[in-house]
């Protein structure tokens, strides 16, 4: 990342979840590679993510962590926030996304239905995903300009 380039992301843990460790480590690592991270921390309701998007209209993504298996319930207000145009950037969700040790692919579909764009199982892929999303957005803009 060139020093002049400003890249902002919004980070937080889902509303019912108080797991702070991975949240702080991801914030630290993203800052380490040059991102400006608005970290909303643990127990963040959708409303607070939307407020942060208002403050940072240039945010590249909202990144929501969840480790307690309640992410579907915690994101119940996400469709309304997206519909109202309050969260327009891509939403990335990662962590442990349902209760129990056996994972059902239906759980991931339900997240997409709520308005989640990308689901990450490996936090190591986060920076690559952000780069990919930005490249897609830039391409989209160029397309718009060209037409």
């Amino acid at each position: 990342m060139s020093p002049s380039e400003r890249r902002v992301v919004i980070l937080g843990v889902a509303a019912s979840d108080s797991h702070a460790v991975a949240n702080h480590l991801i914030a630290h690592a993203l800052r380490g590679v040059g991102f400006e991270v608005e970290n909303l921390g643990t127990c963040t309701p959708v409303e607070e993510f939307a407020d942060a998007c208002d403050r940072h209209p240039d945010a590249e993504a909202v990144i929501i962590g969840s480790l307690n298996g309640h992410v579907h319930e915690d994101l119940r207000d996400l469709p309304a926030a997206r519909e109202a145009g309050r969260i327009t950037c891509p939403v990335i969700v990662g962590g442990n996304l349902s209760v129990g040790s056996k994972k059902d692919p239906r759980d991931l579909e339900r997240l997409h239905e709520l308005g989640v764009d990308r689901i990450l199982s490996d936090p190591g892929q986060l920076v690559a995903l952000l780069d990919e999303l930005r490249a897609a957005r830039t391409a989209e803009r160029q397309l718009l300009v060209a037409s």
């Binding site: 702070a20 460790v21 702080h24 914030a27 921390g41």
Partner: protein, 467 residues
């Protein structure tokens, strides 16, 4: 038990009828109890070179709480007993605590002392020989403290930083620090009436890889404020990191810090919290760790030890496991174990480093004319900080990491005002790990290993890094 539960609070904030007796009456009551105060038990333990032992324990129902205290006393005779308070009461949700108490007391995760009222508190106090301590996690504990004093309870845990940042997301530090100043001022009044309350600080913080100098620096600041408000007995608790030399040095740093930063009339005790992180599951392994912690407390000269149990990995222990944890920890007090020693030279070196790091953190704050605003500003700027804060009022720019020996160092010192000497030592001990831009995946895996240190050490779990 219809009508059995009423509110009995002193400051009019809690709903319901009832008032608390005046402080002087409570002081007379405590004198009439015929049992020692927490401060005198701590002093006796230190004078005799023994580590006093204390469990955590708290259930919702009154009869159940009484039975639990009696059972623990009968089975293990700890030096202190605890009332762990439920989460509703911690957050001043007294209505909810009362409702849950009346509907299903088993759903409470502690004893709702404010809802039960001080008469029941006194009944608990009278039912056992050991002094009681209140353990909770309240950013504002004023009402709870008043009910505790009226109950004749002579030891109270918490502090304006240490009971805010690990527990609350959005309580400004100024609010919690001011509320705790009120508690400490009442302790000063009580001292004037002849009762010394032991005020224990919660140096364990978030309990995840807390560097000793952070734990101790926060405690120094809380202790300075407490002493100025009139507190005469301060217990500084420190969470076992797992590294022998580091833990012994951290415990021995406590009296040294007291000499430097506190007036001489204040009694200061070192308290060790047995390992507060991820415990091994196997009973034998868990018991190894419990005994190891107790030996560390002995070698570090702690006045008191807060114990764990072999059921720690599974949740809140039953009474039997709790009693066995106490009995096992007390074995470390045995006269037979006097041969156990520690490398004094290494402890001395580590102690010097800890004292230097604490000084670099606290001295700029203590140099300001007004300590509470200085603390709040320093946290806002990251000059004071804790790792993995639950609260947005700490930046958590600090990233801790275990070195090759298992001692906790700073991978990132955030904005702490450390000297270059301190910074280079930490980065040397971590072999120059790349603090600026680590790869997220490997950082998470390495920290997961540091957090799961004991299950991995006992080979109950595989290392994330070596996968």
């Amino acid at each position: 038990m219809t009508g059995g539960v009423t509110y009995l609070a002193g400051r009019g904030e809690a709903p319901g009828p009832g008032a608390l007796p005046p402080l002087a009456e409570s002081v007379d009551y405590i004198a009439s109890l015929g049992k020692p105060t927490a401060a005198s038990v701590l002093k006796a333990a230190r004078d005799s070179g023994r580590v006093a032992i204390q469990p955590r324990c708290g259930v919702g129902g009154h009869q159940e709480m009484k039975a639990l205290l009696r059972d623990l006393e009968e089975r293990a005779a700890p030096d202190f007993l605890t009332l762990t308070i439920d989460s509703h009461t911690r957050l001043k949700r007294f209505e909810q605590a009362l409702r849950t108490l009346n509907l299903s007391p088993g759903d409470l995760n502690g004893y709702p002392l404010v809802s039960h009222g001080y008469r029941r508190g006194r009944e608990l106090n009278e039912s056992v020989a050991a002094p009681l301590e209140i353990r909770h996690g309240s950013p504002d504990a004023r009402i709870l403290f008043d009910v505790a004093v009226a109950s004749g309870i002579t030891s109270f845990e918490g502090g304006g930083i240490s009971y805010n940042l690990p527990y609350s997301k959005a309580v400004p530090l100024e609010e919690s620090l001011t509320a705790w100043q009120d508690v400490d001022r009442v302790c000063g009044e009580l001292a004037g009436l002849g009762l010394v309350v032991d005020r224990e600080l919660f140096g364990t913080l978030t309990a995840v890889l807390v560097p000793p100098s952070i734990s101790l620096a926060i405690s120094v600041l809380e202790a300075v404020l407490a002493a100025r408000a009139g507190v005469r007995c301060i217990s500084v608790s420190y969470p076992q990191s797992g590294h022998l030399v580091q833990d012994v040095a951290a415990l021995r740093a406590i009296p040294a810090l007291a000499r430097t930063y506190l007036p001489s009339g204040v009694e200061v005790h070192a308290v060790l919290h047995e390992f507060m992180g991820v415990f091994p599951k196997d009973r034998g392994h868990a018991e190894d760790l419990i005994l190891y912690g107790a030996l560390v407390a002995r070698l570090g000269g702690a006045s008191k030890l807060i114990t764990k149990t072999y059921q720690e990995a599974f949740g809140i222990p039953d009474t039997r496991a709790n009693a066995e944890g106490l009995r096992l920890a007390d074995r470390a007090n045995s006269r037979l174990l006097g041969f156990m020693t520690v490398d004094e030279q290494r402890v001395g070196e580590e102690l010097d480093w800890i004292l230097a790091e604490v000084a670099e953190i606290v001295e700029p704050v203590l140099a300001a004319p007004d300590t509470i605003p200085a603390i709040c500003e320093a946290f806002a700027e990251g000059l004071l900080d804790i790792p993995f804060s639950a609260s947005r009022y700490a930046k958590s720019g600090i990233i801790p990491k275990r070195d090759d020996e298992g001692a906790i160092r700073y991978l990132s010192t955030g904005s702490l005002p450390f000297s270059s000497r301190t910074r280079s030592r930490n980065s040397e001990l971590l072999k120059g790990a790349d603090a600026a831009g680590p790869v997220i995946g490997s950082l998470l895996a390495e920290l997961a290993d540091d957090i799961n240190y004991f299950p991995i050490l006992f080979q109950e779990m595989d290392s994330e890094v070596s996968k």
